[in-house]
Symmetry: C2
Subunit: 202 residues, 2 copies
């Protein structure tokens, strides 16, 4: 029920599927209106092959979304957000999520259709994050008067901003992986302390 795949694919076909998904991500990230032709070209396969694996364009995008969302969920889970000390988990999760989001920016931004499997997973992730932010507040990391949901939203916005910048700036120059740990540190520093000096007040 996870995918339209009925029976297991042969090894080469499986590889092709992943190649297509990755090529689609790259291509659609640059141009959301890219054609199946362009995606196929980017994957180095014929257009008919793409259609053999994904009946319609919509099916392809759904599959991308599902794939990306699963990876995101994994990234968060790996940080053990319910059991680790919350601030540690926040760091871990941030670095992990940045890694995923940098490669799957398009797929993560496609508004997930209602009733989708992706939507379920996504909501689970959001719940998990909200819970983490409540834990952060209980631990005194967040100020008491701050709405943890607002804090989580600011956090998302910062992640989005960092990814946005990275995918336009450094992707072209070097293929070297950006230092997600350093980015996570800067991000969380900004999230918690802001950019203002303690002296000047409103």
């Amino acid at each position: 029920m996870s995918s339209t795949t009925i029976r297991p694919l042969r090894a080469d076909a499986e590889r092709t599927v992943r190649t297509i998904l990755e090529a689609a991500e790259r291509t659609l990230n640059r141009n959301p209106a890219a054609t199946m032709e362009e995606i196929a070209a980017a994957a180095g396969v014929a257009r008919t092959t793409v259609h053999r694996r994904f009946a319609t364009r919509e099916a392809l995008i759904t599959a991308m979304s599902e794939w990306a969302t699963r990876q995101l969920a994994q990234a968060v889970d790996d940080a053990r957000p319910d059991t680790s000390p919350p601030l540690v988990a926040l760091y871990q999760a941030t670095a992990n999520v940045l890694r995923v989001k940098l490669s799957w920016g398009f797929s993560m931004n496609t508004s997930l259709a209602k009733g989708n499997e992706s939507e379920r997973i996504w909501n689970a992730v959001v719940d998990r994050c909200d819970q983490l932010f409540r834990r952060l507040q209980d631990a005194g990391v967040l100020r008491a008067e701050v709405d943890p949901v607002w804090a989580r939203r600011v956090y998302y916005a910062l992640i989005h901003e960092v990814c946005q910048d990275l995918s336009t700036t450094s992707n072209e120059t070097t293929g070297s992986d950006p230092d997600t740990d350093a980015l996570a540190t800067q991000l969380i520093d900004t999230l918690l302390r802001g950019t203002g000096s303690p002296t000047a007040q409103l």
Copy 2:
């Protein structure tokens, strides 16, 4: 040179143009792939009328972008970012920009084509903002070690987040204008102080 309009339009035509621009904004904001037909319907005119005013779909979107960018520039200018005390200007600009961005979310997010008039205006606005953030730092509002460009980017991200939320949440329930001043206050508070408590540190 501002638009493809050669000679002045009659009053009713002028009104039609603005009606179309607004309808296009609303429609494309909900669904970026909306057809000219849908846009025309939303504007309460025939599709041919839209094509009479905007030769191609691209021309329409360009016009929207230009229109929105001009309003944005106006919103920033009205805050007198070079002459007012920087923190005052920041408040003023934020409230103004929120008002504009809430109505023109789609048009502001369309990546402006190179060489566009919109791009020129947009760059001017960015320069203006960067300068404001340098003034903020000189005034001691921003911490000395913070990169003012990073601060500006965080600021943009927060604005985007606030607009995102508003356009999905409250637009459906009430037509009442959201309190942009209160939003600006919350936004700037978060920007400067973050969400963390002063005690807990990294």
